[in-house]
């Protein structure tokens, strides 16, 4: 909405109109253009109101009710929220999700940054490499890749046999509650292409003369990375950390498919959204599921707030340097 207004205000003065236009006419013209703007946006606005805002308001209401899809929702205050903390499966889902976020996100970003630094140097076939590393990000979220993953990490499959060569036999990660989560971590790390591209863009922005000056002063590769690259790309790093963290909290598809829709075994891949889904759509506990969804939103908001607060300490924008 803001955009439409700004566009009108910023438009270069139309000489034909301004010559004769009174302030009142100007106002009318602005209103008319606003109307046209709203009209063009109406498909989006309708979609937002009907498909996003409406259901969100409804789910906020359901979160405080006992609702099984068939009864009329019964107001029960904060019962759904207190029930979470007494529910061992909810606690398990929080634990599994936290583990996934804390292990998966840093690994993925480290790999993305490492590969981006390799690809930032001019080499032959550079475009090909970039495309190749980016490809998993495009297809990784698909259901078919989930099936491929499930097969790769099964008993007697590629991963299991390779691992056995080194004397460690698990008998298939997907059947083992101690291992299966790491196959999901591997799947997300494998999709490092998207943050890699963003890192690449960041690395290209770092002025070459900084490195030349540092090299002249005798700084080695590590010093140059620590004192030049890292501070210079810290805004990009912050952006990636934020995006990937929020993204991994919402993991669902891979856990659902790799565990064959069980989110098991022994709830080992019972990620938060998977439990939410089971409660909402399998057990028809829609009130509880809605409360869970709002709890997740709160948690993600909290983590985001902490990240934003922390950026004062480690993110350097160029304006600060000036």
């Amino acid at each position: 909405m803001g955009t439409a207004v700004t566009l009108v205000d910023d438009a270069p003065p139309d000489t034909r109109q301004t010559r004769s236009a009174t302030p009142a006419a100007k106002k009318r013209r602005g209103r008319r253009e606003n109307l046209a703007g709203y009209l063009f946006m109406s498909p989006w606005i309708a979609g937002f109101l009907l498909l996003t805002a409406g259901p969100m308001v409804a789910s906020l209401y359901f979160a405080f009710t006992d609702y099984n899809l068939f009864n009329s929702p019964k107001w029960i205050g904060f019962d759904n929220f207190t029930r979470m903390f007494d529910d061992p499966r909810w606690q398990k889902s929080v634990e599994v999700t936290a583990k996934y976020v804390v292990i998966g996100t840093p690994l993925k970003l480290l790999l993305a940054l490492g590969v981006a630094m390799l690809l930032a140097q001019s080499r032959r076939g550079q475009a090909l490499y970039r495309a190749a590393f980016y490809a998993p990000s495009l297809i990784g979220a698909s259901v078919s890749i989930g099936f491929v993953w499930r097969t790769l990490f099964s008993d007697g499959a590629v991963v299991d046999r390779t691992q056995s060569l080194f004397g460690s036999h698990v008998g298939g990660w997907v059947g083992d509650p101690d291992w299966i989560l790491y196959s999901l971590v591997a799947l997300t790390v494998w999709q490092f292409g998207a943050p890699m591209v963003i890192f690449l863009a960041g690395l290209k922005q770092v002025p070459r003369e900084l490195y030349e000056a540092a090299a002249m002063d005798g700084a080695g590769p590590f010093r140059r990375f620590w004192n030049i690259t890292l501070p210079m790309i810290s805004p990009v790093l912050f952006f990636n950390v934020l995006l990937e963290t929020i993204h991994s909290f919402q993991i669902f598809g891979s856990a659902y498919v790799v565990s064959n829709s069980q989110c098991g075994p022994a709830d080992a891949t019972l990620v938060y959204t998977c439990y939410l889904y089971q409660q909402g759509f399998k057990n028809a506990q829609m009130g509880f599921a809605s409360a869970m969804a709002w709890m997740l939103l709160l948690a993600v908001a909290l983590v985001t707030a902490v990240l934003f607060w922390s950026q004062k300490k480690w993110v350097h924008y160029e304006e600060d340097a000036r």
Binding site: R28, L39, L69, D155, G175, P265, A266, K282
Partner: protein, 428 residues
């Protein structure tokens, strides 16, 4: 000024146009269509769970129905079992369930309580649907509190499906009336001689534990809750865990990786307690020969078995109850449909179809023989009642039993967890 007015008019027209389009979309989306077209043709929606094989047979049957009732068109869709019920629940909650659908005993009270199921009684009285010519004891499976909520298409009973080759190799020959002690000894013999675990995980199968409880004067469910104590289940699961540890029951790690295939047909177990008609599926999935063995007993005679069944139910919200009744009637009585369907959904429920279909392959012959033998042995009892939420309790039993067997949860905690989840399911 003139121009300005024009612009406004155009804008208004545009706005009107857009809203008209939006309204049009909304109207089609909301399904204002009640399935009746101007020429008096009626369309009913029919959903079921199953796989491609069943879909083929059902489509052939529907073609016959549409030939006999040219004014009724049947629109179909199908999913696998869990997806079917997720979709059904959502559709039913939205007031738009299919007119007629496949159903099972575990869902009758649940959806009756929620007002989703059509009581077919009035259609039976009106002569649109006949309950004559059903095999003994089958029709009752679809009744709850005097209402006919489902009409059985085929009957089945729990059985022990065995890998014949492995049993032969181990020299184990199950006989009617064998006891649990003999069964568990057999598992050990099988494991010792063939290295294959004897059983794929009996302790987390709700319908088997039901039989065991029935042999001991209890049952898994009552009309509104669980029919056994925490101490019963603690004993059952402690023994089960011990047998997994001993290697005579397949490790749940292996079971998890075999799904959606059964560990029996994957060759990771020598026998599995399941519905007798599943032998057809296992024969298609696996490479060995599969057969049926008697359920072990506590007293040397009583197996606790009963006839269960897949059935067809109608939606309470259907606008075409008469056509739904006619469709169900045709699907359960027409001999040609019986010939097409075979024992895919259990032994055909009506004598019209049972007599029309003569199985030619070993597997289907054996299933028919098994139910004849079981009936003759006089062990068939009344079916256990299934409270609302029985389906959720069943899947919790399977999941928590598996977690327990992995050694991730202590038996005592697992039992407590199951009781609490089951209670939540019954009161939902």
């Amino acid at each position: 000024m003139g121009t300005r007015t024009n612009v406004e008019r155009r804008t208004v027209l545009k706005a009107a146009g857009i809203s008209a389009v939006t309204l049009g979309v909304a109207a089609t989306g909301c399904g204002g269509n009640d399935g009746t077209s101007a020429d008096g043709n009626v369309t009913i929606r029919y959903s079921w769970w199953g796989a491609e094989e069943r879909a083929k047979k059902i489509n052939q049957s529907i073609a016959l129905f549409e030939k006999k009732y040219p004014k009724i068109k049947v629109k179909t869709d199908f999913q696998d079992y869990p997806s079917f019920w997720e979709k059904f629940q959502t559709q039913a909650a939205g007031g738009n369930p299919p007119d007629v659908f496949q159903n099972a005993v575990g869902f009758l009270r649940k959806y009756d309580k929620r007002g989703v199921l059509l009581d077919l009684g009035s259609q039976i009285d009106a002569g649109n649907l006949s309950l004559d010519h059903f095999r003994a004891g089958v029709v009752k499976v679809g009744q709850v509190d005097g209402k006919q909520l489902g009409v059985p298409v085929g009957s089945n009973t729990m059985a022990l499906v065995i890998d014949k080759k492995v049993y032969e190799k181990a020299g184990v020959d199950p006989t009617a009336g064998w006891t649990w002690d003999e069964y568990f000894k057999a598992l050990k013999t099988i494991h010792d001689k063939t290295e294959v675990p004897g059983d794929t995980g009996y302790f987390s199968i709700m319908y088997l534990y039901d039989l065991y409880l029935r042999q001991n004067g209890k049952a898994f469910f009552t009309k509104d809750g669980l029919g056994f104590e925490q101490s019963d289940l603690t004993e059952w699961w402690t023994d089960g865990y011990g047998r997994v540890k001993a290697g005579i029951v397949t490790s749940p790690k292996v079971v998890a990786q075999d799904t959606p295939k059964s560990s029996l047909s994957a060759g990771h177990g020598a026998s599995e307690f399941t519905w007798d008609n599943f032998t057809v599926r296992y024969t298609a999935e696996g490479t060995s020969d599969y057969g049926l063995a008697p359920i072990p007993t506590t007293d040397g005679k009583d197996t606790g078995q009963y006839l269960a069944s897949l059935m067809l139910s109608g939606s309470a919200r259907t606008k075409h109850p008469k056509e739904v009744a006619q469709f169900i009637d045709f699907m359960v009585h027409d001999p040609a449909v019986g010939k097409i369907m075979g024992y895919d959904r259990g032994i055909l429920a009506t004598t019209d179809q049972y007599d029309a279909f003569k199985p030619t392959d070993v597997v289907q012959k054996e299933i028919a023989q098994y139910e004849v033998d079981t009936a003759k042995a006089g062990v068939l009892g009344m079916i256990t009642p299934h409270p609302s939420g029985a389906d959720t309790a069943e899947s919790a039993f399977l999941r928590i039993g598996g977690d327990m067997a992995l050694g991730k949860t202590k038996v005592a905690d697992a039992v407590k967890q199951f009781f609490s989840e089951a209670q939540a399911a019954f009161s939902a």
